[in-house]
């Protein structure tokens, strides 16, 4: 079945990136994030205890990356309905994040696809965000799918 909205032209946007942004990770920001979540894990909160861990010091909780706002590529798409949903997110974690790290955040359009659902045509847009540290190591990848219908 031919797509109504996700035409070849729309799909040409797959792979488009937004400009990268770089953040320096502050110790206090990690602690405030862990406090806000209510996570008492000493790895995120207690420098002395964390120093004796295999990490040798405080690291950030896994979803701390949320605090590093990315620039998003514009997705050009004509749809009659313009209702949106945050479908959720998939994370992969490769390296720890420590205070003083400089993390570069960049997003790209990973996929745009259409399916016919109960509510009519639905368009699923997957944005992939990469988080890379100052040593060029990929620390994490996040894939988030937004739904428009």
């Amino acid at each position: 079945m031919a797509n109504k909205y996700v035409t070849d032209e729309v799909r040409k946007q797959i792979g488009k990136t937004a400009e990268p942004r770089t953040y320096e990770v502050e110790r206090g920001a990690i602690r405030r994030f862990a406090e806000a979540v209510g996570d008492p894990n000493p790895l995120f909160n207690n420098e002395v205890a964390a120093r004796h861990s295999r990490f040798g010091g405080i690291i950030a909780p896994p979803t701390f990356y949320r605090s590093m706002m990315a620039a998003f590529p514009e997705v050009k798409l004509e749809m009659p309905g313009n209702r949106g949903l945050d479908g959720g997110s998939d994370w992969e974690f490769f390296e720890p994040v420590r205070p003083g790290d400089r993390i570069t955040v960049q997003t790209k359009i990973a996929d745009i696809r259409e399916s016919e659902g109960r509510l009519g045509a639905m368009v699923f847009t997957t944005i992939e965000t990469s988080y890379t540290n100052q040593h060029g190591q990929l620390c994490a990848l996040q894939r988030a799918t937004g739904i428009r219908y």
Partner: protein, 144 residues
């Protein structure tokens, strides 16, 4: 480091994970908004939330994601590593009500020299409805 370390050999498929109970307040939502930089008003401005056809302010999906992250970093322990975390936002949760993070081991296997454990995880409300289901993979240390 406090807490007992779990090893790959200790884990059985089907074993429960958690529970981790949370009872977020509106104050916690404000703290999370500040810490994460997500200032969408549906998470702290009741009038704004009501005008947007919500029952009141609601929890950030990302905060529930963070709770499930805590469930899994607690499970993995200091010597483990949370490798993958996926969540789907299916239902809303409001502050002032208890939410519970739980999970279950679905598979254990060795791959690329790593000892991996796949888990089904979810956050449920007081009625037992899974508002935020997901999955996770952790790398655990081995005794061998």
């Amino acid at each position: 480091m406090p807490g007992k370390q779990i090893y790959f050999e200790d884990v059985a498929e089907g074993a429960p994970i958690g529970p981790l109970e949370k009872e977020p307040t509106t104050q916690q939502l404000v703290k999370y908004a500040g810490a994460s930089g997500d200032f969408y008003q549906i998470h702290y401005d009741k009038d704004f939330a009501l005008k947007n056809n919500l029952p009141g302010v609601i929890l950030h999906g990302a905060l529930k994601n963070a709770f499930l992250g805590q469930l899994m970093t607690d499970f993995a322990g200091e010597l483990g590593w949370l490798r993958k975390l996926s969540v789907q936002y299916r239902g809303m949760d409001q502050p002032g009500a208890k939410v519970i993070c739980k999970g279950r081991v679905t598979k254990k296997y060795t791959e690329g020299g790593n000892h991996l454990v796949d888990c089904e995880i979810w956050l449920e409300n007081a009625k037992g409805e899974k508002t935020t289901p997901g999955s996770a993979t952790v790398i655990l240390p081995s005794r061998s």
